[in-house]
Amino acid sequence: MTNSINELEKDATAIFVIGTNTTDNHPVIGYKIRKNVRFNGAKLIVADPRRIELSNIADVDLRFRPGTDVALVNAMMNVIITEGLEDKDFIANRTENYEELVKVVEKYPPQLVAQICGVDAEDIRKAARIYATAERGSICYAMGLTQHSTGTDNVKTMCNLALLTGNLGKPGTGVNPLRGQNNVQGACDMGALPVVYPAYQAVTNAEVREKFEKFWGVPLSPNNGLTIPDVVDKAHHGEIKGLMVFGENPMVSDPDLHHVGEAMDNLELLIVQDIFLTETAMKAHVVFPGVTFAEKNGTFSNTERRVQRVRQAITPKGDAHQDWQILCDLSNRLGYPMNYSSPEDIFAEIRKVTPSYAGISYQRIEKTGIHWPCPNEEHPGTPVLHGEKFNRGLGLFHAIEFKEAYELPDAEYPLILSTGRSLFHYHTGTMTRRSSALNEFMPSNEVQVNPETAARLDIVDNEMVKLITRRGYIEVKTHVTEMVPDGVVFTFFHFSEAAANVLTQAKCLDPVAKIPEYKVSAARIEKI
Amino acid sequence: MANYKDIIVGCIDKKGGIIEAFHALQNEFNYIPHEALVEAARVFGVSEAQAYGVATFYSYLSVEKRGKYIIRMCESAPCHVAGADELLKALESQLGIKVGETTSDGKFTLELTECVGQCQATPVITVNSEPVFNVTTKILPQVLAAYK
């Protein structure tokens, strides 16, 4: 997030929520948005194909066709420019390439886009005016926006919108991805990505690499590494021979599970380090038992870049070892010594190579966590990014054209399938399916079907059906609900026995981010 | 019968007027049907739990089905000293129901009420809010017979 969570409760006067079912997937952030709308009169725009909880209190509820995000937001920008609502000073002083944006959004008048997106043109105008005229407008999104073959385009379009209206760099504004996992932010910050070292320092940058070679005392590879989907593909071909999976479960989370399974089976070595015998661990050659968050010390960085403490409450179960210890032990055996006395000791090293974390210490975050960037011990942290200037200097407008999703419905597969999360489960279910109350409350998957779709298919609520795509099928019970529009069905990906990712495709990913298109697959439902 | 949605919409210009909507619904149905309560909550922008809390707070509102005629027996002090207890017994026996119940033909529901402000002519009963004065056990059969 460019801004901090509590600004959504207090500072934002308009909030544009797109592709996030916030009350289900980031409940506490959802509470804050709702509170701001209900008690402070903040305006709320919801753009989501589904009728989510926040739709009920929205000033504008744009239930648009999945995959048409760019068109929708381009049309909003078209309205803003046409009506002269853009922030001219901000554009002049803090951005570049505006002319290119103007040229492209000219092609997206609301009347036309209304047809593309299946929404009312007047609602697009209303949304545009609310956001553009707000004193402090905040954009929140999650994977409803990003999990598309055009995910990067979608995000850039949201940035365009914020730049156009000057909604950046102040409290209550910003472009705010709500990240789905406790430490996905931190994993990125720490360089658990194929192209960067900690703090997003490029592995291909010779100067950077030299610095790390010096610090780590070994020569480093100058080449970008492979993303997960590429690794899976290359394992399939046999180019990747050995894989270590640490606290992940691609056998449930990754697209086209048949394909993933074949890849895993093809490996010479699969090491899994986890707390349970996950679907992935079942395929492993060697399994290291690690520990849960309750058994370890360390830090998590949340979606607003706040680095907070995790504290050990109990001793590890059985002969499970601290995860950091396992990594050290393995490294030592590989001939690269790693000797740390504690997570705090590791953190001390992190601070040295991660400029944004340099000023953060365990002592400083004993009570309250600190937002990075925090360059030195005197620095209070940075809840709001881009106050004076952007990382690259001027904010760059990207001229982005709308592209349809990769796999559109057709006669054979007439429905659009989207996948996502439930309030009651988390990710691949490794933890929540083993939490007694959560699993008792929601023991199985469902597919949400609009009543009209259901009537056409002659299916009723709570009926077991076959949900089929070109990749395969799952058997799942129906939940007939107006939450999903006619023609769109939605299912959760937490359930390995009815795994949504059997259905999703891994062929066409976002070309830049390599994110799979979980929000649009062509599907059909058959009675059993 | 009028549609409950139309009845509720008819009260929309009254700010905070959910109780007015409940009255209007009861005029039509003699109680507040569940789906109407949910709709009223939506129209007046309050939660369903809140609408239910309101509907159950006031003794003249009901979310349970009631008979065509709601007979309320006043039991406040002026009617009490005028023989309300005795009259209530007579009402129960003549209607064949206890307080809170509805006759099997759906005609009468018997409720208790506090003072209805007609104390010049006690004891008082009301039938669908119309007061009937000086009701004695003797004239009761004839009073009830008037309601078809």
Partner: protein, 353 residues
């Protein structure tokens, strides 16, 4: 500034200060049940009544603004008498089973009865008994312990915004209920358990923690939630080296993001930690099956295989999927392991999923 006297002590408070806060400033501990600093005021439990000189009635300190020249007594005979009787009135309908109650030791009703020496109620009689229950797996609703302080109603409305519950009926028959007094599952309840957090008595208690330890038997460890990216903080309750529950910390100093608010997963989804299915020993695949192994054996096995592959096919034939659930320290080490010890940038994690 406003000058007033509390229990003979003169103090100054800013205009707009409530008598309750003024009393606290003067060192007087005024008991409260319905009062919650994070919620709208109710002024309904009347436990916080104090005596203000010259006023015929007692005043509820939580809803009375301090005024210049007020002379307040917080434990005068009238005040103590009122508090005792209010406690007796509550006890008269409260199911007294402190020995098995989850809130034993952290129950305000219990604390105040102790403080004012209220052992039983002279007003015990008949009364509304709504019994238990709601068949949800997360928390117990025991109406026979409810004191209608409405903190649950207010927190559900004001903090969570679910607005699932309200008071139904009125007077002694008032009851906290969902629409049509149905099950929580059929309402807009999201089982966040904020109501459990604010309940001052044992009317709302976690089912997941039931029987596992009372508050005074546990140590609490402040930590950060392991689920979504919001970064809520809370305390893990530990008894005999087992996690037995999660409780909120509401001070923003310790809970800057969520201020005690949680979701159903954070508050009730912690017992996977204690699951019997936890991996407790390394495993090695042998003849197609995973079998237990010692750490040395497992680590050697992995290290040797990695070395062999690296030698044969080069470091880029190895890859790491690191973890969005692991700590920063672990992620740092994991990528360092692959980059420095093995020599490949094939490092990724499921940020996209």
């Amino acid at each position: 500034m406003i000058k007033l006297t509390v229990n003979g002590r003169e103090i100054q408070v800013p205009k707009g200060t409530m008598v309750l806060d003024a009393c606290q400033q003067a060192g007087a501990d005024v008991p409260t049940l319905c009062y919650d600093p994070d919620l709208k005021l109710a002024g309904s439990c009347r436990m916080c009544v104090v005596e203000a000189k010259g006023r015929p009635n007692l005043m509820a300190a939580c809803v009375s603004p301090a005024e210049n020249g007020m002379v307040i007594e917080t434990e005068s005979p009238d005040v103590v008498e009122s508090r005792k009787i209010i406690l007796e009135l509550l006890l008269a309908r409260h199911k007294l089973e402190c020995h098995t109650c989850e809130k034993d030791g952290s129950c305000k009703l219990q604390d105040y009865c102790y403080r004012y020496g209220v052992t039983d109620s002279r007003y015990a009689g008949q009364g509304a008994h709504f019994g238990m229950e709601d068949p949800n797996p997360f928390f117990k609703r025991d109406y026979d312990k409810c004191i209608i302080c409405t903190r649950c109603v207010r927190v559900c409305d004001e903090i969570t915004g679910a607005q699932a519950i309200n008071v139904k009926e009125r007077g002694h028959h008032a009851k906290i209920a969902t629409v049509f007094d149905g099950k929580l599952d059929d309402s807009s309840c999201v089982f966040c358990g904020q109501c459990v957090m604010v309940c001052p008595v044992g009317a709302l208690t976690s089912k997941v923690s039931a029987g596992k330890g009372k508050s005074y038997q546990t140590q609490n460890v402040l930590t950060t939630c392991t689920y979504c990216g919001t970064g809520c903080t809370f305390e893990l309750n530990v008894k005999d080296d087992h996690v037995v529950g999660v409780t909120s910390v509401r001070e923003s100093e310790f809970s800057p993001v969520n201020k005690g608010a949680l979701c159903v997963k954070g508050r009730f989804g912690w017992d996977f930690i204690e699951s019997k299915e936890r991996l407790t020993t390394p495993l090695i695949r042998e003849n197609g099956e995973l079998r237990p192994a010692s750490w040395d054996e497992a680590l050697d096995y992995a290290a040797n295989k990695i070395k062999a592959i690296k030698e044969k096919d080069g470091p880029d034939s190895l890859a790491l999927f690191s973890s969005a659930r692991a700590t920063n320290e672990e992620n740092y080490l994991a990528q360092k392991l692959f980059r420095a010890a093995i020599g490949t940038n094939n490092v990724d994690h499921c940020a996209r999923l």
